[in-house]
């Protein structure tokens, strides 16, 4: 007879472990917020981290945005051509990017590029006792190391998302107008008429702001919580990317549902 006690036990253990980690992460978020005074009184600490997580992510965001916009232009033209509505290609590209693809793909890229780097850096600082040394010098690692990275992520994420969308629209323009020959005026005017700043752009910014909180809190927590070994830091870096990706997609569903419901 199949003994189900062992798999059930494992499942129970995993559930308890997951709830425990979620609780610890919530407490960690509270500690980060409570330790954020230094980040605002010495804002250069935050700006330094904006450079490392935001500015250094620009290349991947710009190039990816351009390619995603170009692919959207190609695919959109193919479909719209069947209905004789190729002038609406600008609308299709812009709405897809501003509402969904911009915030989501930029956040996924941010998690892979900056999130993993934040986790690895904090994890290695822990492994080499730099965080303990700081604590022994009566300098809070939470205020000096974690909080500036957290706020830098929150500041960078919406800006990167907007840049991604802007580059995507430009990519759609290159494919639709320059390469295929869709009317330039129709491309921009239809886009301008269809995209609403408050309902589309602002909501996209709100999404990327929430994704920024999720990615940076996961990245900083995983680094801070990493076992102080090479394997521990490597596992934490992987967990940051996987957990952030799942969290971004789940949050996107929840936020989109709330936003559409509030329109009714």
């Amino acid at each position: 007879m199949l003994d189900i006690r062992r798999p059930l036990g494992r499942l129970g253990h995993n559930v308890i472990d997951g709830v425990w980690r979620a609780g610890t992460m919530a407490r960690f978020l509270w500690l980060v917020l409570a330790s954020s005074g230094t980040s605002f009184s010495r804002f250069r600490l935050v700006m330094r981290e904006v450079y490392f997580s935001g500015v250094l992510s620009l290349i991947i965001i710009i190039v990816s945005g351009l390619f995603v916009g170009m692919v959207l232009g190609l695919q959109g033209y193919e479909t719209l051509q069947k209905y004789g509505a190729t002038e609406s290609i600008g609308v299709l590209v812009a709405l897809s990017l501003v509402r969904e693809l911009g915030p989501v793909v930029a956040a996924l890229l941010f998690a892979s590029r900056a999130g993993s780097a934040i986790t690895a850096e904090i994890g290695l600082m822990k492994t080499t006792e730099q965080l303990t040394a700081m604590d022994m010098m009566a300098v809070s690692p939470m205020a000096r190391v974690i909080a500036p990275r957290f706020w830098a992520g929150i500041i960078s994420m919406p800006i990167l998302s907007l840049l991604f969308s802007a580059m995507g629209v430009f990519g759609g323009y290159i494919v639709g107008v320059v390469m295929i020959g869709v009317d330039n005026g129709a491309f921009w005017s239809q886009m301008q008429a269809a995209v609403d700043f408050r309902y589309d752009v602002v909501r996209g910014i709100v999404k990327s702001f929430v994704f920024g909180i999720a990615v940076t809190i996961i990245a900083t927590f995983e680094g801070y919580d990493a076992p102080p070994t090479a394997e521990g830091v490597s596992g934490a870096t992987t967990r940051t990317v996987v957990t952030s990706a799942l969290m971004i997609l789940a949050l996107d569903l929840v936020l989109t549902a709330f936003m559409l419901r509030s329109e009714d």
Binding site: L124, E129, M134, M136, A138, V139, S140
Partner: protein
């Protein structure tokens, strides 16, 4: 032994650190079992023992990084544990720790590492910070390395820079966690000399956690031996050299068998290799 300690240091009113009946356990595994010790002001005291004996744990309890499950630790007459975060940080400004591999901040230069505590805790102008940093780096012989990053330093040099950082605020107590580990004989002698010189020049007090017998005997004023979480011997270097206590004797003379067994606990050897009824070889 306790009598000789009191006779030498008159501990009752000059102890900077007092550890009373401290016990500590990780989960259910006991690490320290009722440890008591005193560290007199101005002296260099070593805590010695084999790897895993609990000496680094004891150092971390003294520094307030770990809380004991029972017992009291006092620093300068004040209880270390039970303080709120602000009070603990105020206390830590008067103590510092040198970590086993230096724990220098890898994204900063040597200069920035040593300047870090000054910038965080004092409102001194940058010109004064520069003078203080250069003064401490000169004391450890690393003034010429101000622009180097920690990755460009050897193990011994990194520890000298970390030592300069540890004493830059002139702390009352400096704790050293395995300061001699992994150093060549020259670097080891340099670090040993610096610990003694800086302790005497700054008027501070030092606790060294180490298992380096030779260097410690030449350097410290008093030694505690810890094994399996209890103090098994103590005394001045001369007393320790003459000690007939089995653990101290084995440790000081590097004997391979004794109270610390050569074999890790295991079932009978003959049984393990399939010879029924055989006794352990």
């Amino acid at each position: 032994m306790a009598l000789s300690f009191r006779a030498i240091f008159r501990v009752t009113d000059t102890s900077l650190v007092e550890v009373e009946s401290v016990s500590f356990a990780y989960a259910r595994r006991p690490i320290l079992k009722g440890v008591s010790m005193r560290v007199p002001r101005g002296k260099v005291v070593a805590i010695m023992g084999a790897s895993g004996s609990g000496k680094t744990t004891l150092l971390r309890i003294i520094g307030g990084q770990l809380a004991p499950s029972s017992g009291i630790v006092r620093f300068d007459g004040e209880k270390v544990h039970g303080l709120d975060a602000d009070a603990l940080y105020r206390m830590r400004r008067r103590m510092s720790m040198l970590f086993q591999f230096g724990a220098l901040f890898t994204d900063m230069t040597v200069y920035e590492n040593v300047a870090f505590p000054l910038r965080e805790h004092t409102g001194l102008p940058e010109s004064m910070i520069r003078d203080l940093v250069l003064m401490k780096l000169e004391a450890v012989g690393m003034r010429g390395a101000t622009r180097l990053k920690p990755a460009e330093l050897s193990g011994g040099m990194a520890r000298r820079v970390a030592l300069a950082r540890a004493v830059v605020l002139d702390p009352t107590l400096v704790m050293y966690d395995e300061p001699f580990a992994g150093l060549d004989p020259i670097a080891l002698a340099v670090i040993g000399r610096l610990i003694r010189t800086l302790n005497d020049a700054l008027g501070s007090t030092s606790i060294i956690v180490t298992h380096d017998v030779v260097e410690s005997m030449n350097l410290v004023d008093y030694l505690y031996f810890i094994s399996n979480g209890v103090i098994v011997g103590e005394g001045t270097p001369d007393e320790i050299r003459r000690s007939e206590l089995p653990y101290v004797k084995q440790f000081v003379h590097g004997e391979t068998d004794g109270p610390v067994a050569f074999h890790y606990p295991a079932p009978a050897y003959a049984k393990d290799v399939g010879l029924a009824g055989g006794a352990r070889a």
